[in-house]
């Protein structure tokens, strides 16, 4: 069984031996929550910045500040260079372009022969000289526009260094502020702003199409911080900034930033998203998400494997699905049951779903489709649907659980919504216990989006959804699917960021937290076997060309992640100290 290295806050290099991912709470926090805010060093992935590593650039996290400064300097120099400035650069041979530090250092030294520039490490520029020139023009016009704003939007007022590239020490915060003053004052200057001036008063480049998102992230964080402190004017300005910065990005970063900016704007202006009564629309979105990327398929296959193994000898089985949606999980289980050695058991499915706005019985339609399939493959099938706006309203007695059947309870992304109401999750867990299931399969997002502080949630969510969007980027298939999947995720982002109280249902929690909850509710963990692992690995290998998915085993649970970041977890449970 493969065990892969995940976050390890202690590693200093990427090429360690692979320690087991045991996820003690502290390292989990270190690994994830601080990835954006902690300027001094990102834990995990061996000291290299993760975001840039995904793009192929190796920048040490300690050098990030230097990298940013060097980039600005380089851009300035290139902007002020003559037309043949580009040809100067083309003489140098660059080896190892992923080493940004060395690369820009060599470019700088080439351009600035004779000029007394402080040495810095590494640009964030993508290697494209001509596009740099256009971006200089672009950003300068932007700069003029940007800095003509009302002084109410004084970005200096932002406490902390979240808005700007990190300084080496606190004394440089002052130079940051000075930098800003200079640029505000020189908005009419045009391109040649203090080209020869030394370090502290270099103008700040806020809009730069070559910048790979560090600035964007910092601005998002600053905005979130402002929102947390109820500083809505500043937050408003920053949100608009984010919009500008996001427009200069491409790909996943742009989409993530756009969704987060929209969610922040909703929170600031208190335009909360309409409570979506149309669950069929969200079902459609989830279907597109199902087709585009392997997360839901992984969830279904691993949960099915656990259920299959639990039902190995049962003759009558009853599965209770907390979120039936389109029933995409069950054909595979029915097929596996049909081919079970010894023949298929009698299969009974109880599907639970939310009320439909147009009163159509969506559950019955799904049940009917599944019944047709069951008849085709020769499995005795019975279906019952329950409409319920909340799982907590369900009573075990309603479900008509019979004596001779083995029961499985399945919940895919349904439990975290219960955390919005006090006591709901405990009630549901005790209901589950009353059903006396042989196995309970739970699939949840692996993230902590339910912390008490808004900024922490925001940080976590930014990291989580960045990884998720990143993984979608490489997916093949019709672009319509991709767009709908992104809308699906975008709604989640909106809920995490903009909503509060009972409306905020996307209260994701980590495996550790769910484990604690299940343990205290009286459940024992069931290890998902190697069959599940192999199937999951194979499934992921099928998404060929998108080489970033990782399956990991974590104390019996299976996690699917993108590169080093686990994103969803399947875990299985049984009643503690049961009689079986």
């Amino acid at each position: 069984m493969k065990r892969e290295h995940c976050h390890s806050s202690a590693t200093a290099s990427q090429n360690n031996s692979k320690p087991e991912y045991s996820s003690p709470p502290s390292s989990a926090l270190n690994g994830k929550a601080k990835i954006w805010v902690d300027e001094q060093g990102y834990s995990g992935s061996g000291g290299m910045d993760e975001l840039l590593a995904v793009l192929g650039y190796k920048v040490r996290t300690d050098d990030m500040a230097d990298v940013a400064e060097k980039l600005e300097q380089l851009e300035m120099v290139m902007g002020s260079a003559q037309e043949d400035g580009i040809s100067q650069l083309s003489d140098t041979v660059h080896y190892n372009p992923s080493d940004l530090s060395g690369w820009v250092q060599s470019m700088l030294s080439e351009l600035n022969t004779g000029e007394d520039m402080p040495s810095i490490n590494g640009p964030l520029l993508a290697p494209g000289e001509s596009s740099t020139r256009t971006s200089t023009k672009f950003c300068n016009s932007q700069r003029t526009r940007v800095f003509n704003d009302d002084s109410e939007y004084d970005l200096r007022a932002i406490p902390g260094v979240a808005a700007y590239p990190p300084a080496h020490s606190s004394s440089e915060t002052e130079s940051t502020r000075k930098r800003l003053k200079t640029s505000i004052g020189s908005n009419s200057g045009g391109i040649e702003v203090s080209g020869a001036v030394s370090d502290p008063t270099r103008p700040l480049v806020l809009v730069d199409s070559q910048e790979t998102g560090v600035q964007l992230v910092h601005t998002l964080m600053a905005c979130a911080e402002a929102v947390q402190q109820e500083n809505l004017k500043v937050a408003d300005a920053l949100v608009k900034h984010v919009g500008l910065l996001a427009a200069a990005q491409t790909g996943a970063m742009r989409k993530v930033a756009t969704y987060f900016a929209e969610a922040l704007a909703r929170r600031i202006y208190r335009i909360y998203p309409q409570d979506c009564l149309d669950s069929s629309y969200s079902d459609i979105l989830q279907m597109h998400f199902y087709e585009t990327c392997p997360y839901l398929k992984f969830a279904h296959f691993t949960a099915n494997q656990a259920i299959l193994e639990a039902f190995a000898t049962a003759t009558r089985v009853h599965v209770i699905d907390f979120g039936l949606k389109q029933g995409m999980q069950w054909p595979a289980l029915m097929q596996a049951l049909a081919l079970r050695p010894g023949g298929p058991p009698a299969f009974r499915l109880t599907g639970i779903g939310p009320p439909q706005p147009d009163n159509t019985d969506a559950l019955q339609q799904v049940g009917w489709k599944l019944a047709q399939l069951a008849e085709t493959i020769g499995v005795e099938f019975e279906f019952r649907g329950f409409v319920s706006s909340s799982l907590a309203d369900l009573e075990p007695s309603m479900l008509d659980i019979r004596q001779d059947e083995a029961v499985a309870v399945n919940s895919v992304f349904e439990l975290h919504g219960l955390l919005a109401r006090a006591g709901a999750v405990d009630k549901v867990l005790s209901s589950i216990k009353a059903m006396k299931p042989k196995i309970v399969t739970i699939v949840e997002q692996e993230a902590n989006h339910n912390g008490p502080a808004f900024l922490d949630r925001f940080t976590e969510a930014l990291h989580y959804y960045s990884s998720l969007f990143d993984s979608l980027e490489g997916s093949s298939g019709p672009s319509q699917d991709l767009v709908m999947s992104e809308v699906y995720l975008g709604r989640q982002i909106c809920n995490v960021v903009a909503c509060e109280g009972g409306d905020r249902v996307e209260r994701h929690e980590t495996l550790t937290q769910w484990r604690g909850r299940m343990d205290s509710a009286g459940f024992d963990s069931v290890h998902l076997g190697s069959n599940a692992f192999k199937q999951a690995s194979m499934l992921l290998a099928l998404f060929a060309g998108v080489d970033g998915y990782r399956v990991e085993e974590n104390n019996g649970s299976l996690m699917l992640g993108w590169h080093t970041r686990p994103l969803i977890v399947t875990s299985a449970w049984k009643l503690a100290s049961s009689t079986e």
Binding site: M287, Y290, E291, T292, P294, K297, F301, Q326, G327, M328, P331, A332, M334, Q335, A336, A338, L339, P341, G343, K369, L370, Q372, L373, T376, I377, G378, G474, S475, S476, G477, P478, D481, N531, K534, Q535, M538, L539, A541, L542, F543, A544, G545, V546
Partner: protein, 156 residues
């Protein structure tokens, strides 16, 4: 029996012995059973007789499970047939799955039980989705199939 047919046909012909494969359908079928997927497709284009045999599902059944390390249980066949047949299973699931999963020429490989199981599961999911769409007015439109990720060439 083959030899009898051969000798009888030889006797019935002129001095030159001619062997026309289309006269010996059982040999033809035996040969077709041993072909790989692309070759079967080519064979189906040769003539009507070959086409009728190459499209016969039993030939594809052999293809699907030929390289499996252990023979599949007998319960598999009715399920597969009900879901659309072995040819469909091969075209829609097995071939893409195996070509994605193997590094070298997939014909030579031994297919593991897991791969076959996975393919069957995906096949079933695909059937379910298609049946739903036909009913819902999608008209068998393949663009929304859950197996699209298998069929698309990936261009990273």
């Amino acid at each position: 029996m083959d030899q009898n047919q051969n000798t009888s046909s030889r006797e019935s012909k002129e001095k030159r012995s001619e062997f026309f494969i289309n006269d010996h359908i059982d040999i033809l079928v035996e040969i077709l059973k041993r072909l790989d997927g692309p070759s079967l497709g080519v064979a189906a284009c040769v003539c009507r007789l070959w086409s009728s045999f190459a499209r016969n599902d039993s030939v594809w059944e052999h293809l699907c499970f030929r390289h499996v390390s252990s023979p599949p249980p007998s319960s598999v066949k009715p399920v597969v047939v009900a879901l659309g047949g072995y040819k469909k299973l091969y075209m829609v699931c097995l071939r893409p799955v195996l070509s994605r999963l193997s590094d070298s020429d997939m014909v030579r490989r031994v297919w593991t039980r897991h791969e076959v199981q996975l393919s069957l599961s995906l096949f079933c999911v695909d059937y379910y989705e298609r049946s739903g769409r036909l009913g819902g007015g999608g008209g068998g439109d393949a663009s929304a199939s859950s197996l699209m990720f298998l069929c698309n060439t990936v261009n990273v």
